[in-house]
């Protein structure tokens, strides 16, 4: 039980929880049981069936309702005297500004995406409120403490960038199943059912570019006088047959690779479709979108099974038919959604047929859905453990017990007998642009890059700002906000299209730009350096920001990249990679870096930022499994000041 001193700190605390999902449900319960009296909880999500195996405050009857509200009601049932305030809203909304954050003694994160984590980190820094951050994947998890000026902030270490793949790997030379999924989801699905006007690299670059691109325009259009069956087969033959033939004609590509095999529908499916049409009509006499399923109309039940090439082909054609007959209104504005059964069926089938063509093993619908939807593995037990650890750190923070703050890792396999491994927090990174005032520098072609490129590629994508304001000295170049007058908006819109050196206040080599986000109360200055040329492969943005780095992209022989996720801002820092689930799927932070170092400390490769594994208080020597226990650098305590 908690001591008197702890209890009074707990009772007097006002706590903000961000996220009422897997970790959130466990955390709210443990906070209430531990005696917390005033808890506020923000979550924009509603409850889904796949949450119920771990988010124990929710029942089937709650599907579709606000997580924050239902979680509040459920906890009040066993702890009626706790004050719980729920907000069904996005934490990035403007109402949750610095003043809002200032009212809390501590903020506890149970979030599932990098973007929101960075945002909350900045507000906590601006409001000077301590943050306890957390994340889990399967059996792995971590809890970290971020107190301004005392420990590193959430962004002091670069976060792994979302996994992306070079366009040519996706369009021409897939070698892993995930490449086929990205192709099926981002290219083919979007081409057939999404926004037709979007740029799309679906067709391979042939030696004769004119013919393939002209040709392609009509190919994906349903002709007035053709049946959907015919259209489906035409698309099938074009993408799995014709396009592969075109690619094969480019012989250089296949010198060191296995050649793909073109697949045509006539070789797989009987020419005349017989009864499937009627079947589908009967089964789908419903408006409920979730019941429209190619698997159901074809009588395929088990999502764990790997379909044959023929089954995949039938699903492919059937899914196209169902989209065009049962969901006509959706066609033209669909975006892939992992909870859209028909979309998952189509993407699975398309990815499998492509995989077969390229000699890559096929996968079940269940597995494909996981890869396509970037589904993070989650279990109740890890969330419960992590929530317990969050509360323990929160209580230390409330007591200002800085010497005892810990980052704790929850491991799947014990390391030095430990399943729960505490590590001393790092000091703030002095060159972190978020929590220190270190300027960044940007190499850019000031005669070619437009202000728009700078805003999109740097300010939004890299610096994660929502409401940026860009100044050159006293001159305002750009600003986003709700209350700008028309003249200003017109002025900023015009500026966006100008190259940097031709702005009203020219940005040239040596210029210092100041970029601010008024909501996050974050500002940083960027030293501009002009550079003429950029390497298309290594510097695809055509500009290089330094002073802050992201892990580099997978290297290949072309420059553009495609991601595997809803959008880079919504997904986790890394996407599941079918080859190595446990390593690639680390959540939220430079966790992998720290763990690797903590677990595999080896002789020479010591950096000054080695995490300190805490051992028994009577013995400071860390015994390593491999017997490497003589290195004094490992044992040097790096206590917080």
């Amino acid at each position: 039980m908690a001591s008197q001193q702890q209890l009074s700190a707990i009772k007097g605390a006002k706590v903000l929880m961000v996220g009422a999902g897997g970790i959130g449900c466990e955390l709210l319960k443990t906070l209430a049981l531990s005696g917390f009296q005033d808890i506020h909880i923000i979550d924009m999500d509603t409850i889904e069936v796949s949450n119920l195996n771990r988010q124990f405050l929710f029942r089937k009857s709650h599907v579709g309702l606000s997580k924050a509200k239902v979680a509040r009601d459920a906890v009040l049932r066993f702890r009626p005297h706790v004050s719980i305030t729920s907000y069904h809203a996005n934490v990035k909304n403007q109402e949750f500004n610095v003043d809002f954050f200032k009212q809390f003694s501590v903020v506890l994160n149970g979030l599932d995406n990098l973007d929101a984590r960075r945002h909350v980190n900045r507000l906590c820094l601006a409001a000077d409120v301590p943050l306890v951050e957390s994340g889990t994947t399967g059996f792995l998890g971590q809890v970290t403490v971020h107190v301004k000026g005392k420990t590193e902030c959430y962004e002091c270490q670069p976060k792994p960038a979302p996994k992306t793949y070079p366009v040519c790997t996706i369009t021409s030379t897939p070698s892993k199943f995930v490449h086929c999924i990205v192709w099926a989801k981002d290219l083919l699905f979007t081409k057939l059912f999404g926004d037709k006007n979007q740029e799309n690299d679906l067709n391979v670059r042939s030696s004769d570019p004119a013919s393939s691109s002209d040709h392609a325009e009509d190919i994906f259009q349903l002709n007035k006088d053709e049946t959907i069956e015919h259209y489906g087969r035409r698309v099938f033959d074009h993408v799995f047959g014709y396009n592969i033939e075109v690619a094969l004609s480019n012989e250089d590509t296949w010198k060191n690779r296995n050649k793909p095999r073109p697949i045509y529908s006539r070789d797989i499916l009987p020419e005349e479709p017989t009864k499937q049409n009627g079947n589908a009509d009967k089964n789908c006499a419903t408006d409920d979108q979730s019941l429209i399923s190619a698997m159901t109309s074809l009588g395929i039940k088990n999502p764990q099974e790997i379909w044959s090439l023929m089954e995949n082909s039938r699903i492919f054609i059937e899914a196209i038919k169902l989209f065009f007959t049962k969901r006509e209104k959706d066609v033209g504005n669909l975006a892939f959604d992992k909870d859209d059964q028909l979309a998952v069926e189509f993407v699975t089938a398309a990815a499998n047929i492509r995989a077969e063509s390229f000699g890559i093993p096929m996968h079940s619908l269940f597995e494909s859905k996981g890869i396509a939807g970037n589904i993070v593995h989650a279990i109740a037990t890890t969330n419960a453990i992590i929530a317990g650890l969050i509360v323990i750190e929160a209580i230390k923070v409330l007591q200002n017990d800085a010497n005892n703050y810990r980052m704790t890792y929850c491991l799947e396999h014990p390391s030095r007998k430990m399943l729960l491994m505490p590590v001393e927090p790092f000091e703030p990174n002095k060159s972190c642009y978020v929590c220190s005032e270190t300027p960044l520098s940007l190499e850019i072609n000031t005669h070619r890059a437009k202000l728009r490129d700078f805003v999109e590629k740097i300010v939004t994508a890299k610096l994660g700002m929502n409401f940026p304001l860009i100044m050159h000295g006293a001159a305002l170049l750009y600003e986003v906000g709700d209350d700008l007058d028309e003249d200003m908006v017109a002025n900023y819109t015009a500026n966006l299209e100008k190259v940097l050196s031709e702005l009203p206040s020219p940005v040239v080599s040596g210029t210092i730009l100041s970029v601010e986000d008024l909501q996050q109360e974050l500002s940083c200055s960027i030293n501009i350096k002009h550079r003429d040329e950029f390497n298309e492969e290594k510097e695809p943005d055509g500009m290089v920001l330094s002073g802050w780095q992201q892990t580099p992209l997978e290297k290949d022989d072309c420059s553009k990249t495609l991601g595997n996720g809803e959008s880079t801002s919504k997904t986790l820092p890394s996407a599941p990679d079918a080859d190595k689930y446990d390593d690639s799927d680390m959540v939220a932070s430079g966790r992998k870096r720290k763990l690797d170092e903590a677990v595999n400390i080896s002789g020479e490769a010591n950096s000054s930022k080695k995490p300190e594994v805490l051992d028994d208080d009577d013995d400071d020597l860390v015994m390593l499994d491999d017997g490497d226990d003589r290195n004094p650098a490992i044992n040097k305590k790096k206590r917080l000041q």
Partner: protein, 320 residues
């Protein structure tokens, strides 16, 4: 793949965890029968975890009527006298747990760990006891070992801001993933009595202080005829005296069992909810591993102490 396929409903509900342990493990879970005795905070957490995970059935034993203390770390009991009047703690927890997952059969029965016979025990695959005396732990464990089938046995207890789990899987075979291959592994566990009888001087170096402290308190409670957790600060002199005796007979340096730790455990025998969540989570995970036969199980003690924040595995067996 053995046994029947998962239903559509199961696949949908358990989607995220099947991605962790596979459909095969999920099927085995749905056929497991689990018995728990002593519904305090850590056990309530454990029950929540395995009911959510979709085990076959869960049987609860706890004859106590609801008291202020029973409520403290247990979120399964609504704090409303009109609801709990007359019902046992097990019955009340049963009502809440059923609600968590309609696919799991949860029931409450009356009984005492000492009265369980073989006929009864052999209907389970996993038995978890908590808040039991030293004699009860030993006897239930021994009965489990005499059954014609292998039954996994666990004890779990939380005091102050510490927790302990003991595991006996007897002779246990399981599958372990090594790179691309799955390899068969085997472990041999001692019983609780065997484990605590291992002479302390042959223990591995630096065994958790909690192991020793909890053995001293267990012996103290047995000698004084107390219920588990029935200690207060006035017992400290008696506990310290017993510690001295045991350390002498085991040739263990007394410094291995700090007086401050004993004082914490004796003075504050109630549970600390964050520790219940952690211990109940680790135990849930271990039971899921044992039932599914997948992954390294812990052998054979687990400790967590809020003071150093470590979750440690200790293997205390007779290595002759």
């Amino acid at each position: 793949m053995d046994g029947e396929e998962l239903t559509e409903q199961e696949t949908q509900l358990y989607d995220r965890q099947i991605r962790v342990w596979g459909a095969d493990a999920q099927r085995r879970l749905s056929k497991a029968h689990i018995l728990v005795c002593g519904m305090k905070g850590a056990v309530a957490e454990f029950c929540k975890n395995i009911v959510l995970a979709g085990i076959g059935s869960l049987t609860l034993v706890d004859n106590r009527l609801v008291t202020e203390e029973a409520l403290s770390a247990n979120f399964l009991i609504p704090p409303d006298e009109s609801v709990f009047g007359g019902k046992t703690v097990a019955e009340l927890c049963c009502d809440s747990l059923k609600d968590f997952n309609p696919m799991v059969r949860v029931s409450a029965i009356k009984g005492e760990p000492s009265s369980f016979d073989e006929e009864f025990l052999k209907t389970f695959d996993v038995i978890v006891v908590s808040c039991c005396s030293l004699a009860e732990k030993k006897s239930v464990n021994e009965k489990c070992r005499k059954l014609p089938k292998r039954v996994s046995f666990y004890t779990v207890d939380c005091r102050d801001s510490c927790g302990e789990i003991f595991v006996d899987l007897q002779d246990y075979k399981y599958a372990k993933k090594k790179l691309e291959d799955t390899v068969e592994c085997q472990l041999s566990y001692p019983s609780f009595e065997e484990a605590i009888s291992v002479p302390w001087k042959v223990h591995p170096r630096k065994v958790s202080k909690l192991f020793y402290a909890l053995r001293v308190i267990e012996r103290f409670e047995e000698a004084e005829g107390r219920n588990p957790g029935e200690t207060s600060v006035s017992d400290l002199p008696g506990v310290l005296k017993l510690k001295k005796e045991i350390c002498e007979s085991q040739s263990l340096n007394e410094a291995h069992i700090p007086n401050a730790l004993l004082e914490r455990l004796v003075t504050n025998p109630t549970e600390f909810p964050p520790v219940c969540a952690i211990i109940g989570g680790i135990l849930g995970q271990e039971v899921i591993k044992a039932v599914s036969g997948k992954g390294d199980p812990l052998k054979n003690f687990f400790y967590f102490d809020t003071v150093d924040g470590k979750g440690i595995i200790e293997d205390i067996s007779n290595r002759s």
